[in-house]
């Protein structure tokens, strides 16, 4: 066992897949000799050469499109978006070309598009986004969003091996903040489509993913201490396809559910989760399904503004307390 950060775990996963399978290659902006803006691919060029770690022009559509073409030919490209905010520049390529390829034309397109997401880092409107809702609506894509170092590694490896296109969202606030003991020399894989109970509880469930898993765990701890509440935290890990079974299991167990995400509210993933619970587990509910999310504004830069807009641990505590008392 060795203690590794979330970022190092992701890096290890990429490295191991590059070692294992010669068809895996990386392309993106500054990923080569520079090692990527966050150093996820540091040392990769030295080990794997320029042909497998390709520095590209600032052209997200070309990065994703070229990855798709290579994937049709049997390659397993991993495309980096330097910040996930720029994935919108490849929106057409992902939603119209990549996502439909298997369905309309029987074309396998096993690509991974990954990049640093999320706020709490004072990044402002264009270096803090969570783009999941924009792609969640598109049949043909898969979306994973690890919260732990173990899943950062397990999900990148599973995404690379998956036969469909996967958007891998990694949270930059977790990059160096989260550390975990991981086994060495073991093929660590996290199955796509399976949620994880991050904390057991019986009084109320929090369904969440990404950085807010940690905010929710912090809130659960506080609620246990101050209110004697046993809060269950479900870390979705995969958003598409969504693990309905795990969601309904926790709803049936606690009968109250709070959905927490960092992304904005309207049209966000929480709305879909609420609808699914309503359709599949209505009879099990002892209270309304409630949401804690960012406010519906572009994410502002100033610490006071960002802190106000994004969901904080204290927001989750208050909301959970309200729902527990319902």
């Amino acid at each position: 066992m060795a203690e590794v950060t979330y970022l190092e775990a992701l890096r290890q996963g990429l490295w191991e897949e590059m070692e294992r399978d010669p068809s895996v290659f990386i392309l993106g902006e500054d990923v080569g000799a520079y090692g990527g803006a966050f150093k996820v691919t540091e040392g990769f060029t030295k080990r794997f050469g320029e042909e497998r770690v390709i520095d590209t022009p600032i052209s997200e559509a070309a990065i994703v499109g070229a990855a798709a073409g290579a994937a049709h030919m049997g390659m397993r490209p991993v495309a980096e978006m330097q910040f996930i905010d720029f994935i919108s520049c490849a929106y057409d390529m992902l939603t119209n070309y990549v996502a439909t390829a298997r369905y309309r034309a029987g074309l396998a397109t096993p690509i991974v598009v990954r990049g640093p997401c999320g706020g709490y880092v004072r990044g402002g409107p264009f270096h803090s986004q969570n783009p999941e809702a924009a792609f969640f609506h598109t049949p043909g894509l898969k979306i994973v969003y690890p919260a732990t170092a173990r899943d950062a590694k397990g999900l990148i490896k599973a995404s690379i091996r998956d036969d469909d296109p996967v958007i891998y969202l990694e949270h930059k606030w977790l990059y160096r903040r989260i550390k975990e003991q991981l086994p060495e020399g073991e093929d660590l894989l996290t199955p796509i489509g399976e949620a994880r109970v991050a904390r057991e509880g019986k009084d109320l469930s929090i369904v969440t993913y990404g950085a807010t898993v940690w905010k929710s765990l912090e809130a659960a701890e506080q609620l246990a201490k101050d209110d004697g509440l046993a809060v269950e935290v479900l870390d979705l890990r995969t958003l598409l396809p969504m693990d309905d079974t795990a969601i309904m299991r926790t709803v049936e167990k606690t009968n109250k559910v709070l959905i927490v995400h960092e992304d904005t509210r309207t049209g966000g993933v929480a709305g879909e989760i609420a609808a699914r619970i309503n359709e599949q587990a209505f009879a099990w509910l002892d209270g309304p399904i409630m949401r804690v999310t960012a406010h519906d504004v572009p994410l502002p830069y100033a610490p006071t503004l960002e802190d106000f807009v994004l969901p904080q641990t204290e927001d989750i505590v208050k909301a959970a307390r309200w729902l527990a008392a319902y």
């Binding site: 590209t56 499109g65 070229a66 994937a71 030919m73 034309a105 074309l107 043909g140 036969d163």
Partner: protein
């Protein structure tokens, strides 16, 4: 008239390395394309074609000739055709019956009724159908050519782009990426004068599309797109250079779209005399046949035999599929992902 651009590259005095059989083979693909499209018009008027019908009338020459310059056969060169490159797909081995089935949305069509017209692919035969978002195939073909380069395979990619689609961001991004990576890719830029109803002067401020090549640091030439042998020769030469590791090449083919954007479009925006001129004086099939006859490379009866065979082939293909069923509705739920094989229908369907 500006659109009647004089050819800037002449046909070679002797067809570049082509045998008599190959010259006839090219004529066969030209005739097959035109005959198949004429049949599709008839089926469209009978409402058997479900969606729109897109003609390549007047520009079949550049489609067929450019594809003919590729290395064809299982797992050889790959091209990405546009809506008006039916001819290029036939050259690569697409069967007329597949195209008829596609247009009629038959269950047995290559996409099982999911996609329209020539939007289908067979990578082994060497064609990757477009999607409707113009320009997107340039980055995708850059990725395919990149794979050829990474694997050290001596294969080439070829992608068509219309004059209008050179205005897209994906065209720029894809071409620039391909040029930087020096991948073996040939771009056929089709100057056919109309992007739906928009003329080139409202689309870009250069005179010739070949000028755009300079901005990417790649060679660009302009060819008379209705001179079959000139297009063949220019493509063959670019393909050879791309195969040898000389990177991306752009060939602008000057041609003319003689029909509307699709069959529904009455072309009221097109000057009538211009259409007549292109039909009478610059039809690529007529020009090619005339050249073959005048040069005495082939005999008239051989061309006539090919015309008859093309009609018979299309008759046979039509008869074989026109009454086939459409796909069953529930088959729509299969194949979004590699697994599970199909989604369940919504709950109210079983009420």
């Amino acid at each position: 008239m500006a659109s009647r651009a004089a050819p800037t590259a002449q046909s070679p005095p002797v067809p570049g390395g082509l045998t008599r059989e190959q010259l006839l083979d090219i004529y066969r693909y030209l005739r097959l394309t035109r005959t198949l499209e004429e049949r599709l018009v008839a089926l469209y008027r009978q409402s058997k074609v479900i969606g729109g019908l897109f003609r390549s009338l007047g520009q079949e020459g550049e489609s067929v000739a450019s594809a003919y310059a590729l290395d064809r056969g299982p797992n050889r060169d790959i091209l990405s055709p546009l809506i008006r490159n039916l001819g290029s797909m036939l050259v690569m081995g697409a069967q007329p019956i597949q195209i008829l089935r596609q247009y009629m949305a038959k269950a047995e069509s290559p996409t099982r009724g999911r996609e329209l017209n020539v939007h289908f692919n067979d990578l082994e035969r060497g064609y990757l159908g477009q999607i409707s978002h113009l320009g997107d195939m340039v980055p995708v073909m850059a990725g395919i050519a990149l794979t050829f380069k990474l694997r050290g395979e001596r294969r080439v990619g070829l992608v068509y782009i219309g004059d209008g689609a050179t205005s897209t961001g994906t065209f720029h991004e894809g071409l620039n990426f391909a040029a930087v990576q020096r991948v073996p890719l040939v771009v056929i830029a089709e100057y056919n004068r109309w992007a739906y109803s928009t003329p080139p002067e409202k689309q870009f401020a250069v005179k010739d599309l070949a000028e755009k090549a300079k901005g990417y640091g790649i060679p660009g030439v302009t060819v008379d797109g209705n001179d079959v042998l000139a297009v063949y020769e220019a493509t063959r030469s670019a393909v050879e250079r791309a195969r040898a590791g000389d990177g991306v090449h752009l060939i602008e083919v000057k041609t003319y779209r003689r029909k509307g954007h699709a069959e529904h479009d009455d072309q009221h925006y097109v000057p009538k005399d211009e259409l007549d001129w292109w039909a009478k004086e610059n039809d690529p099939v007529d020009r090619y046949a005339k050249r073959l006859r005048q040069s005495e490379w082939v005999e008239e009866r051989e061309l006539q035999a090919i015309d008859g065979q093309a009609k018979a082939e299309i008759d046979q293909a039509t008869d074989a599929c026109v009454d086939e069923p459409l796909p069953p509705g529930a088959s729509a739920l299969a194949g979004v992902y590699a697994g599970p094989p199909a989604l369940p229908p919504h709950w109210y369907r079983s009420l």
